[in-house]
């Protein structure tokens, strides 16, 4: 397939996605696309449905309706393990490091879903801290190291689409910078990334496009290179 057509292709297309937590209706028709090789963010205030969107895509939230197409294949209705096997990897907001597993066991936990993932050595090269502490308990790592572990372990799987939920939350600026550099490196390697962020200054350093989310819907789309002219609008949306 020619390179240009690959770039233009929508890897992920979410259309009119609704989702519920029990009785409460959280997503009210999310619609957006992520192109192959792009880094796209979902921006928005707390509780507008950004995390829920990722969980609904992954099938962790089973009560969902609408359409999530990945490489043209419909995912709504599939169990979350099948969704992961189709080539999507998820890094949750709470990081999800397992305390009964060592650092290395955490790293090796997600099975390979496709060929072509990074090797353990490559992950260690990207995050040297993890290599030093691979025998230690996963949850004994610092917050930043846990975040690196949470990202590192999904790079091995061969998944081409990464869903990252607030990877910079609660981390020191120097670590945030490091994570930004990693996201840049992953983009260089051809990964497609859907990033949930509250910190749009960070998002601006890594993303190609931004979707603004409010009340479980996308209310605006801003290209990163036009962020400056839209900064007033964005401040209003995010209430910063």
């Amino acid at each position: 397939m020619p390179e240009a057509s690959v770039r233009q292709r929508d890897l992920l297309r979410v259309q009119d996605l609704h989702a519920w937590y029990g009785e409460s209706h959280v997503l009210h028709g999310m619609s957006f696309t992520v192109g192959e090789g792009e880094v796209v963010t979902l921006l928005g205030r707390n509780g507008v449905g950004k995390t829920t969107t990722l969980k609904a895509i992954m099938g962790i939230l089973p009560q969902r309706r609408g359409s999530v197409a990945f490489e043209g294949r419909e995912l709504v209705g599939l169990a979350s393990n099948r969704i992961a096997r189709s080539g999507i990897a998820y890094c949750p907001e709470e990081r999800g490091i397992f305390s009964s597993l060592s650092v290395e066991e955490n790293l090796l936990l997600p099975p390979q879903v496709r060929p072509g993932g990074m090797s353990v050595e490559e992950v260690y090269a990207l995050f040297p801290n993890l290599a030093e502490r691979k025998r230690g308990q996963g949850t004994k790592l610092s917050g930043g190291e846990q975040q690196m572990l949470a990202i590192g372990r999904i790079l091995r799987t061969g998944a081409r689409l990464l869903l990252l939920d607030e990877p910079t939350e609660g981390l020191a600026p120097v670590i945030v910078q490091q994570i930004g550099a990693v996201i840049g490196a992953l983009k260089q390697k051809g990964f497609t990334i859907l990033l949930v962020e509250q910190n749009f200054r960070f998002a601006a350093t890594v993303a190609d496009r931004h979707y603004v989310v409010e009340h479980g819907q996308v209310i605006d789309e801003i290209a990163n290179d036009r962020l400056d002219e839209n900064i007033g609008k964005l401040h209003e949306y995010l209430g910063v």
Binding site: A84, L101, L109, P111
Partner: protein, 301 residues
Amino acid sequence: MPDWLAHIAVAMPPTQALFGQLLIGLINGAFYAMLSLGLAVIFGMLNIINFAHGAQYMLGAFCAWFALDYLGIGYWPSLILAPIAVAAIGIALERLLLRHIYRLDHLYGLLLTFGVALIIEGVLRNYYGSSGQPYSIPRELTGARNLGFMFLPNYRAWVIFASLAVCFGTWFLIERTRLGSYLRAATENPSLVQAFGINVPRMVTLTYGFGAGLAALAGVLAAPIYQVSPLMGSDIIVVVFAVVVIGGMGSIVGAVASGFVLGVVEGLTKVFYPEASNTVIFVVMAIVLLVKPAGFFGRTV
């Protein structure tokens, strides 16, 4: 000899009796360990207190007996076939019944498995009464060896060895292998493990089957020692639950260690104060519940 030492010397039982009871304690402990291990594995993964565990142990013994009496299949094949058969029954039970109640309180799982246990026991009692069917020791393991201070029947030595091997094997599987890391992770956060592409519902089913098979294996090992009776499961399971409470729910090491230790405690009580031998484990349980409610190795539930 000082006076007080003479008193103790008089109170000491003959070494033969002491080692005899110690052995019986170890044998009982071997079964407590295997059964509480299965309970711990099932509880860790399914969050269900498997009251059918005693019935599955009894079914294992009955499978071996059936196989011998009706099909002429001996002890050694039964040691493999009976656990597989009971695991299959366990898998059906999980698929058809247990699957529907995971989101509910522990109490429902307990009631459901208790009900299943009563049904299995009742059916077998209807056909075979409550008296035991004899099951003989395999020829290779008859006889005993003289250890100098006591006679050790070969079959009992085999049971202790087999139990230790099974317990170690299970511990190794869960704590040291890739599959075990999936199990441990799924115990902590099943939905995330599934979102990594692992079929957690299937793993849950197989875990229950494994736990039931483990109980059946203990049942086959027990058949030549305790006879095969429909009530053998409910007799032992009450004690095993006390062992699990003492060791701590959901801990592999705790289940095995407290199984063996309490078997020995029970055996020694028979020597020094026989009247208390049936209650000593429950006394220990009561004290542990007061002092350390989560058990010695337990996590808080």
